[in-house]
Amino acid sequence: MAAVVADELAEEAPGPAGRPGRRRHSPPVWRWAILLIVGTYFVIPLYAALRYTGFKSFPSVLTQEGFAPAFELSVKLAAVTTVLTIVLMLPTSIYVHLRLPAVRRLLEGITILPIVIPPVVLIVGVLEVSPGFLKSTPYLLALEYVVLAMPFAYRSFDAGLRALDLHTLVEAAQSLGASWRQMLWRVLLPNLRTALLSAIVLTVALVLGEFTMASLALYQTFPVWIVAFDQTSGPISVAASLLALFVTWLFLMAITMIAGRSRRSGGTEVSLFSVSRRTTGGPS
């Protein structure tokens, strides 16, 4: 779903010259009403969880048995998954945009598959065919998570690349003597900074929250620990969930702030899932 939202937002991003978007024409009262309804929908469960667990449970989460190794494993998996995802998806996205634009639709279709195929099917299939040395390491999960993260990472990179006049920037850098490495480092990555951060946050959030695969592969990641610990202490388990949610939310806020800074320094205009081209050319 996030991928679809990403695409739509990218398409509807405000055009040049600061033209007001269609939503500006909506009466403000409706916007507030929608915001209230959606806010209530999300806030009530959080409030209920907070009431149930109480503030006193939060400090004790960190000292519970099994928390540290489970959290450490999840963080390691998140790091490995993120690196693999970026290394695989970023060059692929750039290459497809530059050299194989006709393949873009196909790639969009392929990258949506992990959302369509249930995780349980993926993990059972992988456990069936993966070699023994991979079965004995939790990093098998990282390979699986790369596939799961693919739709989100690709959408982020795709939106970021579409916001740039990629061909012209690449050719301009080449004509000035930049090698591919220099171009990637000095021109493309800085202009894809927020798209990159979006992909990272989405991947990390996905790994920190993934339960099915880890559980079936019999590894106690953070979500698996939360479920297991729920049978020992419900309030602490819920507090751990809220803590994870809060950390993810902090990540999102950081992205928004970085995006704002990027905009002020001439970068692309970015929301979490979409990157729109900055208005070029002010008053003549």
Binding site: D165, G266, G282
Partner: protein
């Protein structure tokens, strides 16, 4: 912003620029043949404009020279050295693109210094050189601004400074003015030409705007279907077009059936378009006459009816329908055309200039954004065509 730049001696220019030679270049994209044996040579310090309608291959030629495309056949030499195997990044060619190509994450100063950074020039020297170039294009005050804080014209000036900062052997301009409004375009046109002359950089300029090409270039190459129809100085191109296509593409040209020439009087000379050979009769051919090659006088029993008039400042352009539904355009001094209105009967006659003749068949496709005078639709199909 204006920059006053004096033109250096020809010797200096020749020392600074490189010789470029493109020989028999061909390039196809699928079934489309973009270049069909293009041969073009640029002298050191020369600015050559490639002019032509969309799809004529001019941009492909420039991109092959830049190293962004490869030719199917033919050679590209710079200073006598074949550069076919040299990647774009190693060609030392500065390029200004049609779309704004500044790096959004860098200030104007950093953009200009980018090429120098790639050449590992020290930070202080790089900044100094970039500042000089920005000053040269009149944007010293905007050095710290980012591209989105600059107007389109300013961005293209920064792009020009960036391209020149690396002291390129060849400067490539790919329709750099087409996205700008008319006034900025005119200013930038003069600035580019001034800088190019001052630095003596050999320059290939691609445009579909004939006014730009004629006003800026030392020589203009008119392209059609992947080949050069003619390359000559602007004066030569205008006065002595090598083909009917060039004649009609450059400037305004009236095409009049040769059999109707008698209606307009006796031409001083009849010259074949292309070979320049003189002939005694225009029968069976078409005559090509520029608006200034026709004279117009009010006459109650004249040979034409004025259909429209367009004020051009010192001149007024009058469209006149001759018998046989042939419409010609005639330029008159505005003071002399003051009393002439649409619907008036006038006598159109030939001025004392040679008349070009060409074959009536196989007329080339009409250039975009411009109509040949003889192709105006009949009066009945122009409901709003009354007056300016």
């Amino acid at each position: 912003m204006t920059t006053s730049i004096s033109q250096p001696a020809g010797e200096d220019r020749a020392q600074a620029g490189a010789t470029v030679r493109m020989q028999n270049l061909s390039r196809s994209f699928g079934a489309v043949r973009a270049l069909a044996g293009l041969t073009l040579q640029l002298a050191p310090g020369e600015l050559v404009a490639l002019l032509g309608p969309s799809g004529c291959g001019k941009t492909t030629a420039l991109r092959i020279l830049a190293g962004f495309e490869t030719a199917d056949s033919g050679t590209v030499e710079v200073d006598g050295k074949d550069i076919a195997g040299v990647p774009a990044a190693k060609r030392d060619m500065g390029m200004v693109f049609q779309s704004y190509s500044l790096f959004p994450n860098m200030s104007a100063l950093d953009n200009v210094g980018f090429g120098l950074r790639m050449r590992r020039l020290g930070s202080a020297a790089r900044q100094r050189r970039a500042a000089e170039l920005l000053d040269m294009v009149g944007l010293a005050a905007q050095a710290k601004q980012y591209p989105h804080q600059l107007s389109g014209g300013q961005q293209q000036r920064v792009a020009l400074a960036r391209a020149l900062a690396i002291e390129p052997r060849v400067l490539l301009l790919d329709e750099p003015l087409s996205a700008l409004d008319a006034k900025v375009r005119l200013q930038l046109r003069e600035q580019i030409r001034g800088l190019q002359q001052r630095l003596g950089t050999t320059t290939l300029f691609v445009t579909h705007d004939q006014e730009e090409a004629l006003s800026m270039a030392d020589r203009v190459g008119v392209m059609r279907s992947g080949t050069l129809e003619q390359i000559a100085t602007p004066d030569e191109l205008y006065a002595h077009p090598a083909s009917a296509f060039v004649a009609e593409f450059v400037g305004i040209m009236n095409r009049i059936p040769g059999d109707m020439l008698d209606l307009l009087g006796t031409p001083s000379a009849l010259v074949g378009a292309g070979d320049g050979s003189q002939t005694g009769s225009a029968g069976g051919l078409d005559a090509l006459v520029r608006p200034e090659g026709l004279r117009l006088t009010p006459s109650p029993h004249g040979n034409g009816i004025v259909t429209t008039r367009t004020f051009l400042g010192q001149l007024t352009r009058l469209s006149v329908r001759l018998s046989g539904d042939v419409v010609v355009q005639v330029d008159e001094r505005t003071t002399e055309a003051a009393g002439i209105s649409p619907g008036d009967s006038v006598q159109v006659s030939l001025a004392d200039l040679p008349v070009l003749l060409c074959q009536p068949e196989g007329r080339p496709p009409e250039p975009p954004d411009r109509r040949s005078a003889s192709r105006l639709p009949p009066l009945a199909s122009q409901p709003g065509n009354v007056d300016n």
